[in-house]
């Protein structure tokens, strides 16, 4: 290959175009994938946040409706007003299994302020008389209105409602409380979206001993030391490996945050996180969202391969056509001129140049032939 020939230079230029084209496509596809995976991660966070809010509102509405029924039930109202625990248990215990099957795992009656102790725990009747002293208790006592929100308590992290109970004269006789474990939500969310979820609790709000005890009761591995600032309270996957978060839960923005993309074997995931606040507005935990984008990734790779092959094919064909055309229209005719010119310079003055066309090369052939004739005349 002669590096100073026009043919080589054209070939190199076309090869450079091919390379630039392929690199451009790869860059474009990479950018597109990065952008789309970012959008998908953001959508999964936003979607999960909305779904969580919907589930939360639905369950609050359900618990509120149940509490409405209770406060207008005269036997229950009177038993509670009379602080007749056994009668109250007798009246309400048959309802508890049904409510539990609907997700309401916590059901309590509280005495009125100032003591505000637990009068009856339907989910644990032998245990009563303790004072919980939570934010929601104080708010209910202060406002004598229904208080709703998430509360991290010894029994777990639950969405709760607490409302006052009145006797037949309208005096507050105590409070009734219902609660649903937030951990239940993530399984409902997974069944709706297919994404994986993890419920994280900030260690600042969880008692170490309680965590160890509850893990022992539920025969779960004590995962307290897995992460420096939070514990995984519940998750939809069998493994904690896809739940990776190094930051501080309290610093997660309200609208959520998209985390990095990662691979696990042949699978590609994106993940994000959004905060969960308690009734007092503190960020006590977070929901970790993991979306499998392997299908999207494979489709992107397939498109990328097809595009690269098409580009290589199209540019290869283009290169062949351009070179063939240049060969036919320019190079071969120039070579003929060079051969004749060499012979004329060498003394064969009879070598003629055949003018093959009236294009640029043809005009040059014509001019060269005229020079040759002048040269022969002058000789």
């Amino acid at each position: 290959m002669k590096w100073n020939s026009i043919r080589t230079k054209v070939l190199v230029a076309l090869a450079a175009c091919l390379l630039v084209g392929v690199c451009g496509i790869l860059t474009l596809m990479h950018y597109s994938f990065e952008r789309n995976s970012q959008v998908m991660a953001a959508e999964s966070v936003t979607g999960a946040q909305k779904l969580f809010a919907i589930l939360e509102a639905r369950e609050i509405s359900k618990m509120t409706a149940v509490s409405e029924l209770l406060i207008v039930n005269p036997p229950i109202r009177d038993a509670f007003a009379a602080k007749d625990r056994s009668r109250l248990l007798e009246l309400t215990a048959p309802l508890y299994p049904k409510l539990k099957s609907e997700g309401i795992t916590n059901w309590m009656f509280h005495t009125p302020e100032p003591d505000m102790t637990v009068f009856l725990r339907l989910h644990n009747p032998p245990k009563f008389g303790d004072r919980l002293n939570r934010f929601m208790d104080k708010e209910a006592a202060r406002t004598h209105a229904i208080v709703v929100g998430n509360e991290l308590a010894r029994a777990g992290f639950a969405v709760r409602i607490l409302r006052p109970f009145y006797d037949s004269h309208g005096a507050v006789t105590g409070y009734v409380e219902f609660g649903e474990e937030l951990g239940q939500f993530i399984h409902a969310m997974k069944s709706q979206t297919g994404d994986e979820y993890g419920l994280l609790l900030s260690k600042k709000f969880v008692d170490r001993q309680f965590w160890a005890d509850s893990n022992a009761v539920w025969k779960r591995r004590d995962n307290w030391n897995d992460n420096p600032s939070f514990v995984v309270a519940d998750k939809t996957t069998a493994t904690d490996s896809i739940i990776q978060f190094q930051g501080d839960l309290a610093a997660v923005p309200s609208q959520g945050k998209v985390l990095e993309r990662f691979r696990d074997g042949s699978f590609v995931f994106v993940r994000g996180i959004f905060p969960i606040r308690d009734a007092a507005g503190n960020i006590v935990g977070a929901m970790f969202v993991v979306r499998d984008i392997s299908g999207f990734y494979l489709a992107m790779r397939h498109t990328q391969t097809v595009l690269v092959l098409l580009t290589v094919g199209a540019l290869g064909l283009g290169t062949f056509l351009v070179l063939s055309l240049l060969n036919r229209l320019v190079f071969r005719r120039l070579e003929r001129i060079i051969v004749v010119a060499t012979r004329v310079v060498g003394g064969d003055y009879e070598s003629e140049i055949q003018v093959t066309s009236n294009d640029e090369v043809g005009r040059f052939e014509q001019l060269f032939e005229q020079f040759r004739l002048v040269f022969v005349e002058l000789r």
């Binding site: 060499t342 012979r343 310079v345 060498g346 003394g347 064969d348 070598s351």
Partner: protein, 66 residues
């Protein structure tokens, strides 16, 4: 004076005995040396650069050292 012409004569001799296409070989040497061999006469003034170029062209085309 005459060195260029001597070279021309030696080249012509070599071409004659080589059996190659004379016009083509002379043309190639002319293109490489930048000087038409046919125009070199006994009176052509010597120029060391021209002599060197002609020798090199003869070596490249005919593979001879002059």
């Amino acid at each position: 004076m005459g060195q260029l012409y001597d070279l021309r004569v030696k080249i012509e001799e070599k071409i004659k005995h080589s059996g190659l296409d004379a016009a083509e070989v002379r043309g190639k040497i002319g293109l490489r040396s930048g000087r038409l061999i046919a125009f070199i006469s006994p009176t052509t003034p010597d120029d060391p650069a021209a002599v060197a170029k002609l020798k090199q062209a003869a070596k490249d085309v005919l593979n001879i050292s002059l």
